[in-house]
């Protein structure tokens, strides 16, 4: 499945977008580690959906607009993105910080959404657990913390660290700090309004998630009592990458 690789201008931000497949639109919102390349799970999803994989403002090859100061700015940007591309009945999938963006969008306006899939999502606090301090991790420590499967860690650590990779890591980290340093990876006002989300919600979490522990799911259950809950065994913070088949099946099921 080939993805078209292009740039769209939304709210004055030159936005890098890969798009492939046919069917109902699926917008995938990446987390702090970005979405530099098309992954196998995206290709599988493109067999059933029109899959859109942008890089958020401030990440990867996308621009860094002046207005980008907090998570709300990103949420409004993506609502404008949906409108500009005239996307309807969108299956909105967000991992980690992408899940936080997805919730911020949905509390404001669900009219173009059909479903929300939150994967290892940031955005709310839990009384029992804390998000790991990724800002104090070296790039190597971060890779080890992200994945449960040691083989994936070894493969990633063996990749050459080119100047381009360093540039992108620094840019992504800068934007993540901009959006999520304080309050740390959550919006204190968001839980008050999650009840406004009136589309079906799926919550997917790696059982061995060491970035945002699986106990956060209990907090989400309080806000989304009707949500489908899927705990993925033998899996860390990124189920789409570690367990692509299982993840795709969860997204595609009713």
């Amino acid at each position: 499945m080939t993805f078209k690789d292009e740039f769209v201008e939304v709210d004055g931000c030159r936005t890098h977008l890969r798009r492939g497949g046919e069917g109902k639109p699926l917008l995938y919102l990446h987390g702090a580690s970005g979405a530099p390349v098309i992954q196998p799970f995206m290709e599988k999803l493109a067999e059933r959906f029109d899959v859109l994989v942008p890089e958020h403002p401030g990440y990867g090859q996308s621009g860094e607009p002046e207005w980008l100061e907090n998570i709300h700015d990103v949420a409004y940007f993506y609502l404008d993105f949906l409108k500009q591309l005239n996307l309807k009945e969108v299956l909105l999938v967000g991992t980690s910080m992408g899940g936080w963006i997805a919730m911020e969008m949905a509390v404001r306006d669900c009219s173009r959404l059909s479903q929300l899939v939150l994967v290892g999502s940031a955005g709310i606090k839990s009384p029992d657990a804390e998000v790991a301090d990724t800002f104090l991790m070296s790039p190597e420590e971060a890779i080890r913390a992200l994945y449960h499967d040691a083989k994936i860690v070894d493969t990633l650590l063996a990749l050459p660290v080119t100047p381009e990779v360093v540039d992108m890591q620094l840019k992504n980290r800068h934007t993540t700090a901009r959006l999520a340093w304080e309050p740390r990876f959550h919006d204190p006002h968001l839980p008050k309004w999650l009840h406004r989300i009136n589309v079906p919600v799926k919550i997917v979490w790696g059982e061995q998630d060491r970035i945002i522990p699986v106990s956060f799911v209990d907090e989400y259950k309080k806000h989304f009592p009707k949500a489908q809950i899927h705990i993925v065994k033998g899996c860390g913070h990124l189920p789409p990458v570690e367990k692509p088949d299982e993840f795709v099946a969860i997204v595609c099921n009713k």
Binding site: D133, F135, L136, S138, D167, E182
Partner: protein, 382 residues
């Protein structure tokens, strides 16, 4: 115009369990505070304040305190407290706060107020240093490092206006808003205490500090001599670019110093304490020192490349070689400063006579030798 000589102090927790500090990888942010013994702290604070007051007797022009949070490296999360104590116990010496970390404060107006109080109480002896705070302190306080520069500049603008503009007036910035800026007390010095800017080397800081509207004294701190020379020259060149020649008094160099009876005994005495300072107290991981947005991405890339050298251990011999530490008998120390002065013409020399675990007796001996055997020669320069 003779050199102004400043006695600078970090007030470290000199009784630290060094092994615990080493094992933890750093003494910053998360080294558990159970390692601070208030009994020892009581003795240390009073010893260090005694040393700074002694500086006035020994003839230093300025005594200086400093701000760091939640670290054994420096026990002055509030330099206001120590500067206040010193302003009552001294009568003539200038007192420098190097510097207040503006972005870490919830409200910059409190900095304006506290500095004004010390200036008035001391009869106009305050030098106000402003800094952004060390990267580690952004991890500690949760202030967003990507806004560090913006907050610093806005805070500075509010403070200077609060000191100089008749109140009440309102201030509406991006980060701070005050409906009624109306400072009581107003500062003693006119137009306000001199503002000094300590830095570890930054083109942006130099551009801003040297601007004709400001002409703030720029201090290069704790860097190899080559780096100090480079940045002081950059400051002078930038002034030229603005259309004026920098005065020597606009430049300063801060460096740890140890004067012994002779070169060999100086090195022997200083070695364990300097190496503890440099390799235990100073050390922290890259991510702690430079959180995202604290410094430009270009600078970050240079730091990542130099990582091994910058974050590895430094021996006293290497430090002396690099000019990170000036150490020896009086002749050697004076000649070293003379050579550096010829090249850099710093109008302010900040010497740190206590470092790391250096105990009270060695610190006093160091200060006394410096004052008796080196200072007169330094006065002859400039």
């Amino acid at each position: 115009m003779t050199i102004q000589i400043v006695l600078f102090h970090l007030m470290p927790y000199a009784d630290l369990d060094l092994e615990a500090g080493r094992k933890n990888g750093t003494v910053w942010v998360k080294l558990p505070n159970k390692h601070f013994d208030p009994e020892k702290g009581h003795r240390l604070y009073n010893r260090f304040l005694d040393e700074l007051e002694y500086g006035e007797k020994l003839g230093f022009d300025v005594i200086a305190v400093n701000e760091h949070h939640q670290t054994a490296y420096g026990l002055m999360p509030s330099p206001i407290v120590t500067a206040s104590a010193l302003s009552r116990k001294t009568t003539k010496v200038k007192i420098a706060i190097l510097g207040s970390a503006l972005p870490l404060r919830s409200h910059p107006l409190t900095v304006a107020e506290e500095h004004a109080m010390i200036d008035v109480i001391s009869g106009g002896r305050l030098i106000s240093g402003f800094v952004r705070g060390i990267g580690a302190e952004y991890h500690t306080f949760g202030v967003n490092p990507t806004f560090s520069h913006d907050r610093f500049h806005e805070a500075h603008d509010l403070i200077v206006r609060a000191w100089t503009e008749p109140g009440p007036f309102s201030f509406r910035g991006r980060h701070y808003e005050v409906k009624y800026v109306n400072l009581w007390p107003r500062p003693y010095q006119k137009p306000h205490p001199p503002i000094w800017i300590p830095s570890q080397g930054s083109k942006e800081t130099i551009d801003w500090a040297s601007h004709p509207d400001r002409r703030y004294t720029y201090l290069q701190t704790f860097s190899p001599a080559k780096v100090v020379a480079r940045y002081l020259k950059m400051y002078r060149d930038t002034c030229q670019g603005y259309g004026y020649s920098a005065k020597d008094s606009q430049l300063g160099w801060a460096v740890p110093v140890f004067v012994g009876a002779d070169d060999e005994s100086a090195r022997r005495a200083a070695k364990p304490h300097f190496e503890a300072f440099r390799n235990v107290f100073v050390k922290m991981p890259l991510e702690m020192l430079l959180p995202p947005g604290y410094t430009s991405r270009e600078s970050m890339k240079n730091v990542i490349k130099a990582k091994a050298q910058m974050f590895g251990d430094v021996s006293i011999e290497q430090a002396i070689e690099l000019g990170l530490f000036v150490c020896g008998g009086p002749e050697t120390v004076l000649r070293s400063f003379e050579a550096h002065f010829k090249e850099m013409r710093f109008g302010n020399l900040l010497v740190m006579c206590q470092f790391g675990t250096l105990p009270a007796d060695l610190t006093r001996a160091n200060m006394e030798r410096f004052a008796r055997d080196v200072m007169p020669g330094l006065r002859a320069l400039g």
